[in-house]
């Protein structure tokens, strides 16, 4: 297409928007409302994701190991031979080469004998799919954590534990997973490894998190789909009004042999222009709304752990621009095409 035509058509598009400014402003208003709601939905879901991410971080599983403490206190029902030997060992001297220690435990009674073996087991867990990270928590460290979390002043009642009878806590691998949806499978895999006793998990939390995530995805999809449809309808309606107000021009264009593409372009430009203006305004309005809302919420809840608008600004603008341009272009294209298809009375203006 020639440069002069491009200039002419663009100018016509803007002229349409201006000539039809009341409707243009109204449709920009509705589009901005739609976009702001879409933006809020995205921001809320991002914040929920952030909160869930924090939850997920806490939702680690503890894979307890079959170590010395386990040999002493653990439930060894699957390992009957070991259980017998320990109970007997405490009462009488064993005839085997290996002498049980003061508490009557032999090294063959348990699997993980030292920190080196524990770390090796952690390495093995780390190799599994869906495992993000593994941290070794020794029994002593575990006990310290337990004490630290006790209500003040109560730990003194528990000090006897490690002094007299030894630490009852086994060492554990603190496992963080990548995808909570694969929680059960991963737990099962860890369970099968040699040297793992029990796994303490909060599988129900994992389920809840997955459900929340799915819920957000579905709700987000429908919100965006419905609002996009509304935007499309609003823009097409505005274009329809422009079109009817330009019936005379269109009839002349047809009579002198303008192609349908040429007739369409100014209207499509008008639609795109309305969409883009709406995108720019939405970005500003949403920024303002979000800042006001989060300031209040943060003050009330005393949290600072929220998604920053600046991190989302570009993504949101791209989404708004795409929604605006698409609904503008598609809406006007559909409308003008419908109009141009009408045969017979093409030259009948007014």
């Amino acid at each position: 297409m020639k440069m002069s035509s491009v200039r002419y058509l663009t100018k016509e598009g803007f002229k349409n928007t201006w000539a039809n400014r009341l409707m243009s402003v109204a449709s920009v208003g509705v589009l901005v409302a739609c976009m702001v709601v879409i933006g809020l939905a995205i921001l809320i879901s991002e914040n929920v994701k952030l909160a869930i991410g924090n939850l997920e971080k806490q939702n680690v599983v503890m894979a307890y190991m079959k170590d010395y403490s386990w040999a002493q206190y653990g439930d060894k029902s699957e390992n009957s031979s070991g259980a017998e030997s320990t109970t007997e060992a405490s009462s009488e001297e064993s005839a085997t080469e290996e002498q049980p220690d003061a508490r009557g435990i032999k090294s063959s009674d348990y699997v993980i004998h030292n920190e080196e073996e524990a770390l090796a087991l952690c390495k093995e867990i780390e190799k599994l799919d869906n495992v993000e990270s593994v941290e070794y928590i020794s029994g002593d460290k575990g006990l310290e954590d337990v004490k630290a979390n006790m209500p003040e002043g109560q730990e003194k009642y528990f000090t006897f534990l490690d002094e007299e009878y030894g630490n009852p806590l086994s060492g554990a691998a603190k496992v963080k997973m990548k995808d909570m949806a694969l929680f059960d499978v991963t737990v099962e895999k860890i369970q099968k490894l040699e040297g793992i006793d029990t796994i303490q998990s909060q599988s129900d939390l994992a389920e809840k998190i997955t459900a929340i995530k799915n819920g957000i995805a579905i709700a987000g999809f429908w919100i965006i789909a419905i609002l996009m449809l509304i935007s499309l309808i609003i823009v097409s309606n505005t274009i329809r009004i422009t079109m009817y107000s330009r019936k005379l021009e269109i009839s002349i264009m047809k009579a002198v042999g303008a192609t349908n593409a040429f007739i369409r372009i100014p209207f499509v430009i008008e639609g795109i222009f309305i969409g883009l203006i709406s995108a720019i305004l939405s970005e500003g309005v949403l920024y303002f709304c979000y800042r006001v809302a989060t300031e209040t919420i943060c003050k009330t809840l005393g949290t600072t752990d929220i998604v920053k608008y600046s991190d989302m600004a570009i993504l949101l603008f791209v989404i708004f621009a795409v929604i605006g341009i698409l609904s503008g272009a598609i809406g006007s294209f559909i409308m003008i095409s419908k109009y141009l298809r009408k045969e017979g009375s093409e030259f009948a203006a007014i």
Partner: protein
């Protein structure tokens, strides 16, 4: 004058063969119309109201489609023409409307220029051709006037300039003098006649017997969708 041109021509500009048009409402607007119009002819189309004159014109502009028969216009077969070629067909003709169809918010120059803009002409070309067309209809000094500042006759001359500006080989005018006074009607047909003398074929519907008598062009008479008379140019009418 035009008979001589007719004899030179071999292929007609417009040819109807067994054309019938029935509207969706069931009205038989045209029935078995056969006609040839050659290059350089000036043809008046007359007939009573509802005779099918406008329908005849609409078929030529491909605003309506014939139900049966074949129509060819300026080398396009209108029964087979592809949708995207319809604009190309229309660029070969200049259409003059009874109600002028000037865009009220544009001045005279822009109204004429509009017809060139929308077929993709360059600004330079537009300036040259519009000036030429306006002086051809005697409105060179009214280029900056708005349509509502002009008389009916002047407005129709703007319409004529717009129809001429893309240099068509065929002018289609359905009652172009229907909304102007007798003196102005005479002016407009004189202008069309002058344009015709340069070789442009002109097809004009009119109810004005005086004009038909005065100008002595070929006259096609329609009645109830049929051609009932076809008097050659020279005044042997009725």
């Amino acid at each position: 004058m035009s008979e001589i041109i007719n004899e030179i021509q071999d292929k007609p500009v417009i040819e109807f063969k067994g054309v019938s048009k029935t509207y969706k409402t069931g009205t038989h607007a045209l029935e078995d119309v056969n006609i040839k119009i050659n290059k350089g002819e000036f043809v008046f189309v007359v007939g009573s109201s509802g005779a099918g004159k406008s329908t005849f014109m609409k078929l030529i502009m491909r605003e309506e489609k014939a139900n049966t028969g074949t129509i060819s216009v300026n080398g396009y077969n209108l029964t087979k023409i592809k949708k995207r070629n319809i604009p190309m067909l229309r660029r070969t003709m200049g259409i003059v409307f009874q109600d002028f169809r000037l865009i009220p918010k544009m001045n005279v120059f822009d109204n004429v220029a509009f017809a060139m803009h929308v077929v993709g002409a360059s600004t330079r070309q537009i300036r040259r051709e519009v000036t030429k067309a306006l002086s051809a209809v005697g409105l060179g000094d009214k280029a900056r006037s708005m349509p509502n500042e002009l008389s009916g006759g002047e407005q129709q001359r703007v319409g004529l300039a717009r129809a001429l500006v893309n240099n068509p080989t065929l002018i289609i005018a359905d009652e172009p003098t229907g909304n102007v006074d007798p003196n102005m009607s005479y002016e407009i047909v004189s202008m069309l006649t002058a344009i015709n003398k340069q070789g442009t074929t002109v097809l004009m519907v009119t109810h004005d017997h005086d004009l038909v008598h005065y100008f002595k062009h070929r006259v096609i008479m329609l009645d109830s969708g049929k051609i009932v008379a076809d008097n050659p140019a020279g005044g042997a009418e009725e």
